[in-house]
């Protein structure tokens, strides 16, 4: 019997719901993008227009030629890269030990890491300020890296623990039988199969540091300001520079988007991890 093809109603509904969801995420960003390419005079017109009447890059020219933003970008990048490296160096081996050599103390350790994530950043900001001050690290990049690392390690630890849970213990044991020390087994066998998980953790850690605002505001002043602080300063007592602010915000979002797209394969691989059993 010939079957009449009908539009699949549930498929249409699902796609419509997905479109609404995507737009709700994307619209503010698209509006940011549109505003950033409007001429400075059009940015604050009443009523506001969504699309620019004329495309202009003067906002980008302004922020790139300013003395503060390029330096803030370099600061942000330095801090985020160092924070990511340091966090992974701490969290990857720690998570491996905590999951593969499970004891009461390691469970407590992971739980404690989770608890530290619950404490509001602002509660930790003041003691961090005092600590870094006493160490002479206030308003220095290493100081901010340490502060960001303290915030990023628990997240990295929890993420890596979840990934390591999927690694069969026999892999390390087989490597040890094959002539590896425990550390060699970790380095030569376990780490290479965890690249997806490590990429995901690195990305989240990088974004945590890249987006971080409060510690950067509390712990830095002139020379070590990161980009979020500088972008926020476009809204000052001297006025609100919408155009420059949106252009800086667009530029600031680009590295994260590029890195995410570049690591897309590993991220999807990492998030669907669990198929290690060759």
């Amino acid at each position: 019997m010939h079957r009449v093809s009908r539009p699949n109603l549930s498929g249409v509904l699902i796609n419509a719901a997905a479109l609404v969801l995507v737009l709700s995420y994307a619209l503010p960003y698209i509006y940011l993008l549109m505003t950033s390419i409007k001429p400075a005079a059009d940015v604050q017109q009443i009523p506001p227009s969504f699309f620019p009447a004329v495309i202009s890059f003067e906002n980008f020219r302004e922020v790139l030629q300013s003395s503060t933003l390029p330096k803030a970008f370099i600061n942000s990048l330095t801090v985020a890269v160092l924070t990511t490296a340091l966090s992974l160096m701490v969290a990857v081996p720690a998570a491996y030990v905590a999951t593969q050599y499970r004891r009461r103390i390691t469970t407590f350790f992971l739980l404690f890491a989770l608890v530290t994530r619950m404490v509001p950043s602002v509660s930790l900001g003041v003691p961090l300020f005092q600590l870094l001050k006493s160490m002479g690290l206030l308003d220095t990049l290493p100081g901010l890296v340490l502060a960001h690392t303290s915030a990023a390690v628990p997240l990295a630890l929890l993420l890596m623990s979840a990934f390591f849970e999927g690694v069969p213990k026999e892999l390390e044991e087989a490597a040890r039988m094959d002539g590896c020390t425990r550390f060699e087994a970790f380095r030569k066998i376990i780490l290479p199969i965890m690249t997806g998980g490590i990429a995901v953790t690195a990305l989240f850690t990088f974004i945590t540091s890249w987006n971080e605002f409060l510690y950067a505001l509390l712990l830095t002043s002139e020379s070590t300001k990161t980009a979020p602080i500088v972008i926020a300063e476009y809204n000052s007592v001297y006025g609100l520079a919408w155009g420059a602010m949106t252009a800086a915000a667009v530029l600031y979002s680009l590295p994260v988007i590029i890195v995410t797209l570049a690591l897309q394969k590993q991220i999807v691989g990492g998030l669907t991890f669990g198929a290690v059993k060759g």
Binding site: P168, E170, E173, A174, A175, M177, E184, K277, G278
Partner: protein, 380 residues
């Protein structure tokens, strides 16, 4: 190659669970030793202690002439095949097999020639450049074997290596592993819960239960002269039928049935002589009960038939013997499909008994086993 010696090996975990009790025996150079027992009997723990993956709480473990209690796994010169194969998923078959040689620092030419040789023996030559994920279960098992044999170690340890394979492949690989071991003549310890694997593969078999070694012997001896009721029931399929009985002189009373025990039984079990109303546990293997209509015997019993499983070459006849059934203490024993306390007899396929019949059963009385009701040890 080397022998392995275990002397009073104990394993006590942090929570004070005593997993292995005073394990002592020798494994000879080139011998194929099988550790068998129900789950939780400590066989894998014993293997992992020999591998160095578990610490030894007390006792002495020797590989060759060297005490290795505190030697790292990598320095024990032993190779292990895991139940899950534990292949390195990011490496090709070639890299998996070459890995232990690479760690040993062998020159590349030597590694290549050894990997190719192992691949040839295990028929993996065409699969060398594949990743494990692209292999079937049997092929993965071969790669795991390849990774072990390529090293030419002093001993192989195998932890239930066939349990993830389907039944047909298991039988094939069983024969292949046994013949490979004979060819390489490397001391091998093989852990399994399957008594058929144990009996068909091992030169000797160590039967364990609850962390205690029950008996180490050749498969034939385990079958013919089990040391206790557990070994008697564990070895052989279907299991030995165990019932309480009374021996009076030469007459054995089993429920409402009585028959005479032949003289030769008293010759190799002299302590049964002169019994007067002596309570015993009697063990009858299914193959020692036949249809009396086909093969009459002087020792006959009768019992109702509850089920007949015709397998073509033989018929498994389930019987309801009216004596007290005895539990052998195997936690993994599968309850009989008709009644867990039913006896099973292995009849000739020519037998015409049907479920519901009262069958006359000829017992090979000279093949009976006798055990003490208290200690459950064999009576000799």
């Amino acid at each position: 190659m080397a022998g392995i010696e275990l002397r009073n090996i104990n394993k006590i975990y942090g929570n004070s669970f005593h997993a292995l009790h005073d394990l002592s025996f020798d494994i000879m150079d080139g011998e194929f030793m099988v550790f068998v027992g129900p789950s939780g009997c400590g066989k894998s723990t014993a293997l992992r202690m020999i591998a160095g993956l578990e610490t030894i709480s007390s006792g002495e473990l020797k590989i060759g002439d060297r005490v290795v209690n505190d030697v790292d796994p990598k320095d024990r010169d032993i190779a292990m095949v895991f139940q899950s194969y534990a292949l390195y998923p990011h490496k090709t078959v070639r890299e998996n097999i070459a890995f232990p040689l690479l760690m040993a620092g062998l020159p590349k030419a030597e590694i290549d020639s050894r990997v190719n040789e192992a691949a040839r023996i295990l028929e993996l030559t065409t699969l060398l450049d594949r990743k494990p994920a692209l292999l079937s279960g049997g092929q993965r098992q071969r790669v795991a074997m390849g990774r072990a044999i390529v090293r030419k170690p002093a001993a192989f340890l195998m932890d239930e290596p066939l349990s993830n394979l389907d039944a047909k492949l298991r039988v094939q690989m069983r024969a292949e592993i046994a013949s490979l071991q004979r060819k390489l003549n490397v001391t091998t310890i093989y852990v399994t819960h399957d008594q058929v694997e144990a009996m068909t593969m091992g030169d000797r078999v160590a039967v364990m239960k609850g962390g205690v070694l029950q008996q180490v012997d050749t498969p034939q001896q385990l079958y013919a002269r089990p040391t206790n009721i557990f070994v008697a029931a564990f070895i052989g399929s279907p299991s030995m039928n165990l019932y309480e009985a009374v021996l009076n002189g030469r007459t054995l009373t089993l429920g409402s049935n009585s028959f005479e025990i032949p003289d030769q039984v008293f010759e190799y079990r002299p302590s049964l002589n002169g019994a007067s109303n002596r309570q015993v546990i009697v063990g009858i293997r299914p193959e020692h009960m036949n249809d009396a209509a086909i093969r009459p015997s002087s020792a006959e019993i009768s019992a109702p038939v509850t089920l007949v499983e015709a397998l073509g070459s033989e018929s498994m006849v389930h019987l309801n013997i009216d004596a007290s059934w005895v539990d052998a203490g195997d936690p993994d024993a599968v309850a009989d499909i008709s009644d867990e306390k039913a006896a099973v007899a292995r009849f000739s396929p020519k037998s015409t008994v049907r479920a519901g019949d009262i069958a006359r059963i000829a017992v090979d009385a000279e093949e009976l086993h006798f055990f003490e009701p208290d200690t459950r040890a064999s009576i000799w």
